[in-house]
Amino acid sequence: MRPIAEIQKLKQIIHNLDEIDHVPVLIGGKALALFGSPRLTFDTDIVIPSIKDLAAAKLLTNAMRKADFYYVNKLDDGGNPIGWIDAPNVAASRIMIDKPKTIFFWNPDLEMKIDILLDFPLKTSALLATAKDKMLDKTTVIKVASLKNLKKMKEIAFKDRKKSTDAQDLEFIASIMKSKRKNKSKEL
């Protein structure tokens, strides 16, 4: 099976972030999709460590630009990007001014949005400690947050925004955990 363009871009981003010593951890709906969740999700959520200075911000925006992703500086009410910055260095300065917890990147051709969360809602180190490796191909490994941490993050999100999709995800996580427990007790 030939990978679709979105998968190719995701692999490119993993490699580009690896090059600047950021090990991205996949969280959110796309992470749950890897556990078999059928829920429709548009964005790809990734957690990386916080950005401390302009140089680090430049490395990030350049790494994303290399994969044709632009820093989003304007979203509409539905969360769709309506404004983005072409120049990575200008985008880096904007990040340092805005100091966002989540940075949105957008590829207009594929209409693909990557949300990069900076040590939020959980620290990257905490996520990496229990993250699972999933192989996308023979050379690309993506770290996926553990079910326990995915549950924790969904609980935080649900408490905050009370979205039905978060409740749906929590239900899915509970069912997966239950079936895992069942399988374990069967083995014993």
Partner: protein, 46 residues
Amino acid sequence: MKKAKVKAKIVKTPQGKTPVQLLTLSYKRARAIRHLQKINKVTPKR
């Protein structure tokens, strides 16, 4: 001496799908809904 070949192992999920297959499905689903939203067959809802 013959060197042992190390093969990368792609682990399948309980559904019998590889991670790439599951992600592909998710991205394709999003693509299809965006297309339907564009031709106004479904109301945009995020």
